[in-house]
């Protein structure tokens, strides 16, 4: 389904490098424990620059989601309708992604989801699908 590749920056390079091993990697503040996203040089909670990396289990909930019925870029026309969602990961961060489903009508906020990796060129793209415990 992917048309566009990730666009790693100086701040997100570690994140996209980790996805090559199918790992969802975040920075965790060593001072206060806050797991942050977007990636940043310092903790927005306590301003500590000291951090370690943590690997997310890739399990979370749908915080919110929308269903695109039109393509705002030609490249997405063949994907319609598709679901864009904010995923609340167990470790804390909210990340933007897609929920892969044949039935968008079944989705609801707070629904449990887990990660699936879609491979595209040299990248693995983190996406999510519903799952019941």
């Amino acid at each position: 389904m992917n048309t566009f590749l990730p666009t790693p920056t100086a701040d997100t390079k570690f994140f996209w490098e980790a996805t090559q091993n199918k790992e969802l990697k975040f920075q965790k503040c060593r001072n206060c424990g806050h797991v942050r996203w977007p990636a940043s040089i310092a903790c927005p909670e306590c301003h500590s620059f000291d951090f370690e990396y943590v690997i997310s289990k890739g399990i979370g909930k749908i915080y919110s989601f929308v269903v695109y019925n039109v393509a705002f870029h030609e490249a997405f026309k063949q994907n319609l309708p598709y679901v864009v969602a904010i995923i609340e990961l167990e470790e804390g961060p909210h990340i933007l992604s897609n929920v892969i489903t044949n039935n968008p009508a079944e989705l609801r906020c707070e629904m449990p989801v887990k990660i699936i990796w879609e491979s595209y060129e040299n990248y693995n793209i983190p996406k999510f699908k519903p799952f019941e415990n």
Binding site: N2, T3, F4, L5, P6, T7, T12, W37, P38, Y63, S64, F65, V66, V67, Y68, N69, V70, A71, F72, H73, E74, F76, N79, P81, Y82, V84, I86, P93, H94, I95, L96, S97, N98, P104, R108, C109, E110, I125
Partner: protein
């Protein structure tokens, strides 16, 4: 009562002139041409000379369409033939324009501040709402097919549907009531285009839960107004409309991480500031002009302002409560949904025209079946609920 020190600013500054241009679909015009026309018309409307303008604040400008030069504040000043002491243009929509104007006037850096927004977005096919060719992707959001304002606000609206009772049945009331106002306003893009609940509900989803009818228009045209002191305003030709209260808040967090998107948004803090400065309550408000980039924005703003409890918007907006003849008129020009999109200047200048008594067929008063307004509550917000300004205007 954290903001009572602002009371000294109550009714001290005024909006003294409004500049309009042709609006809607106006092909063959540059964005700059609308800036210049709106600016000149505001100066004329206030009865001022261009030499009087010593502050110029431009709203955010999206990248120029085709080969036009960027509408920088320098170029706007040059083409207006003015040399402002203070010149600014915001980026990315923090809504500080009126707070900045009042601050500049209070400190004495400026005497007359001109505030403008203009664009040729419709003829130039700007792409925030319509299905259109989007520029090539620049960041990781595009990778997931997330293309900006409609999808982002729809994410907020969807979460709201989960947290309290809202959805299309609330939003259709907002869309239909505002269309009724537009049908009293010959300048409105949707003039003579009635809208029924059925039209709304039968229309396709654009990005579910939003339909196109939940989204702002895209417009060609411009809008401007001038802020000065009430003392100076008294010597000018228009009735005096004062800034009774003003407040601002910037929760800032991106929609994809934010949890304030279902309230309280910045509307709560900004309105507390404005109401403490004005020293009034919601009961004193005769009408509202609420920034309505989407129907949901009207709901969450008025909910955060305290007009109703979470989820009670469905009952609040029904039976034409905010439509012509209703108890609390909201967005009396048709708003961004049905009049035209000039950022916060659509709602704010409409409040000024209503308070000056210059709103013609849509003028609040006995003919419409509403009270002649003395106090109007306005809002402006930007980003995806990341910034909010509240302005309470009053006919002195």
């Amino acid at each position: 009562m954290k903001y009572t020190h602002l009371k000294k600013l109550r009714d001290k500054y005024a909006i003294v002139g409004v500049g309009y241009t042709p609006q809607g679909k106006v092909p063959g015009r540059s964005a700059l041409s609308f800036y210049v026309e709106a600016g000149i018309n505001a100066i004329k409307d206030a009865g001022l000379k261009k030499e009087d303008i010593d502050g110029l604040i431009c709203y955010r400008q999206f990248p120029a369409i085709s080969n036009e030069p960027e509408a920088t504040p320098y170029l706007v000043a040059q083409l207006l033939g003015i040399e402002p002491t203070v010149l600014s243009q915001e980026s990315y929509c923090p809504r500080h324009h009126f707070v900045q104007a009042v601050s500049l006037l209070e400190a004495g850096f400026c005497n007359y501040v001109l505030i403008i927004y203009a664009d040729n977005a419709l003829s130039g096919r700007r792409m925030f709402i319509e299905e259109a060719t989007h520029p090539e992707p620049k960041n990781d959001n595009y990778m997931y097919g997330e293309f900006g304002f409609v999808g982002d606000y729809a994410l907020a609206a969807r979460r709201a549907m989960f947290e309290f009772e809202t959805g299309p049945n609330t939003w259709k009331e907002i869309a239909v009531s505002q269309r009724k106002w537009a049908n009293l306003n010959p300048n409105a893009t949707m003039y003579n285009k009635p809208l029924t609940y059925e039209d709304y509900l039968n229309s396709e989803y654009l990005i579910e839960p939003f339909r196109k009818l939940d989204a702002s228009l895209i417009s060609d045209g411009g809008r401007a107004c001038i802020v000065t002191s009430v003392e100076r305003a008294k010597d000018l030709k228009n009735p005096v409309v004062s800034i009774m209260g003003i407040g601002e808040a910037n929760p800032s967090i991106d929609i994809h991480q934010a949890t304030y998107i279902t309230g309280p948004t910045g509307a709560k803090k900004a309105s507390q500031m404005a109401f403490e400065m004005a020293d009034i309550t919601l009961n004193d408000i005769d009408a509202c002009e609420i920034y309505d980039c989407f129907t949901y924005t009207v709901e969450i703003t008025m909910q955060d302002y305290g007009f109703f409890k979470p989820g009670e918007g469905k009952d609040f907006f029904k039976d034409g409560f905010t439509a012509p003849g209703g108890k609390l008129p909201v967005n009396t020009s048709g708003g961004l949904l049905s009049e035209a999109y000039f950022m916060g200047l659509t709602p704010i200048t409409e409040a000024v025209m209503q308070l000056m008594g210059r709103a013609e067929k849509r003028q609040l008063g006995v003919a419409i079946g509403n009270k002649k307004p003395e106090i109007i509550l306005c809002s402006d917000n930007g980003g995806v609920l990341q910034t909010h300004a509240t302005i309470i205007l009053r006919r002195l």
